[in-house]
Amino acid sequence: MIRFLLKGILHDRHRSLMPLIVITIGVALTVLGHAWIQGVMGEAYTMSAHFATGHLKVMTRAYADEQGQMPVDLALTGSSGLTERLAAEMPEIDWAPRIRFGGLIDFPDSAGETRAQGPVAGYAIDLLSPATREPGRFNLPEALLSGRMPRDAREALLTHDFAEKFAVQPGDPFTFFGSTMEGSLAFYNFTVAGTVRFGSEVLDHGAFIIDLTAGQQALAMQDAAGEILGFFRSGYFDARAAQRLTDRFNSSQPAGTDEFAPVMITMRDQEGMAQLMDYTNAIGSIMVLLFVVAMSVVLWNTGLIGGLRRHGEFGVRLALGEEKGHIYRSLIGEALLIGLIGSVTGTLLGLGLAWYLQVVGLDIGDAMKASSMMVPAVVRTQISATDFWIGFIPGLLSMTLGNALSGVRIYRRDTAQLFKELEA
């Protein structure tokens, strides 16, 4: 009997091909859609974490209240001691002190007079320590378009677009003007070591990267840092663990109103990240749900049409002595088989497409030129374990459910009625 049913599936294209195509496409789109959302948002989160938020961040209470303004005057003092303490208490986290600041860059002409000036966002990070992981977080080796990495505290990296705008080459000098931690004027000479492009319009618009020690010197922030970022050594943000560590750290701080006491926050607590994460998760779930519902409706209809088309066959089978229940069960069995094949094919197809987009990526740089979001210019899918079942299970269930529902109509019909339809 199983051989008989398999022959039916193989030879009757209306019975198998259309549902197979629907399931394959639906499942493939679900897998691809999920991998796409994971990839785009994952890269955006990673970029945000690496450049701005970290997985965890320690700063003063006052700095935390105004961190959007990059207020170096509210920075943490004794940052090296605090970093060592954090490293000892939380070995699963890699800690990186940073200074984010704003200012003006002055490019001189050959006579030393101002040739051009432009506003920049500055990043003082650990570029020069032997074991530093900061260049990797900023993707600097890959982002370097001209020149080389800085070799000492007097050298800086400029974003390529900014450098081009002011016709600056590696080796050219410039002066940074800003405000010190104490509020006085800061000016500091650097040499352009190289130019970089991050692939994010927000950053590429105008930024420069210097070593942390240079930042501390330029801004008069000896043993101080605007913030100390923490990164899980696994590379992945673990919201529960982050919250647990944050609670532990903050509870160990003295209670009171000292606005310069350190405070720790998680990535979710920064710059609306919690809402963004929840929103994108919800959007992702809705997209998958829509795919599944649409697929179920189409398959239900396919099942109904197939069932109606096969009333004649069912009538014959009844007349030849097959039980209604057996016909119904065979219908479900066929649906399971077709659903299984379609789900496997769709999952493989979806994973294949997702893998291609994960490797090659899709350049949306032009579309994001006017965006202020920290989104990579080349977005990629990200295949995760979820992709192996997120389309597979709905594909299988929707096909089976569609046929089960359409089959009920047949099952409830009088034998005589089916037989009359056979003769009609």
Partner: protein
């Protein structure tokens, strides 16, 4: 061993009434039918469209149930049969031949004929032997791997006969089996069925208004407006009375009891 006709009651119908609901009322298709069929009969229900032939055939075949009265088929009262019991009765004891053949188009001739045996869950070797024998009876052994779409109407109906007969039923119900066939093919299939009736003792009941079928019948039951208008036996009608048509079908010796194990 060929079975002999016996005059035992195979079907006993008493005061059968069948009503179909239509809107708030009902339509009465059969009005107090009382009939009996003995084993080995070659009988026909004849009458115009709407006279109740097919309805009566469906009730005998346990595809439908009476509104009133009783119908006993092979010792079983069909009114009280569950779906499962009715299916078992049809599967083991009743064969159906349809006007439009109703072969399963995606399957081969062999698969179509094999299907009733698959439901009986017999061994593969026994099934193969039975199917090929049944196809030999109707002269289509060489078409076993053909699809119905590749066959003529007459050949399709012969496959339908093989499918009805492959399980060696005691009763075959044929609803207008010649309606879609030309004269030659009609005679072919009727001669085949007559031969099966005579040599295997299978009871055949037709629903027909085809004059060609009536010439082969041993018994004609006329239905009019759901009532039996006449019931007459015809003694001298056999297949030998009819001229052989061109392209004689079948010719295979019919199988003995040893070829098929009736469940």
């Amino acid at each position: 061993m060929k079975r002999t006709m016996e005059n035992q009651k195979l079907i006993d119908i008493r005061n059968l009434v069948k009503r179909f609901p239509i809107g708030d009322g009902s339509f009465t298709a059969l009005r107090g039918i009382t009939l009996a069929f003995a084993e080995g009969e070659f009988a026909g229900l004849v009458g115009p469209s709407g006279s109740g032939k097919t309805t009566l055939l469906n009730i005998i075949g346990s595809l439908d149930t009476p509104s009133e009265g009783s119908v006993t088929v092979l010792g079983r009262e069909v009114t009280h049969l569950s779906h499962r019991e009715a299916a078992a009765l049809r599967n083991h004891h009743i064969g159906f031949i349809f006007q439009t053949y109703n072969l399963l188009p995606v399957f081969t001739v062999y698969d179509n004929v094999e299907f009733p045996l698959l439901l009986q869950k017999g061994g593969a070797a026994g099934r193969k032997k039975a199917v090929m024998k049944a196809l030999e009876w109707v002269g289509l052994a060489d078409k076993a791997q053909s699809r119905p779409a590749q066959l003529s109407g007459g050949e399709c109906q012969r496959v339908s006969i093989a499918r009805a007969m492959v399980k060696r039923p005691q009763l075959v119900l044929a609803d207008e089996p010649s309606a879609n066939l030309d004269a030659d093919n009609s005679h072919h299939i009727l001669r085949t069925m007559k031969r099966l009736n005579r040599e295997l003792g299978t009871t055949f009941i037709f629903a027909t208004h085809d004059e060609k079928v009536m010439h082969y019948l041993d018994r004609i039951i006329g239905l009019e407006d759901g009532r039996v208008a006449r019931d007459e036996r015809i003694e001298n009608t056999t297949e030998d009375d009819h001229p052989p048509a061109s392209g004689e079908i079948g010719g295979s010796e019919l199988p003995g009891e040893e070829d098929f194990a009736r469940p």
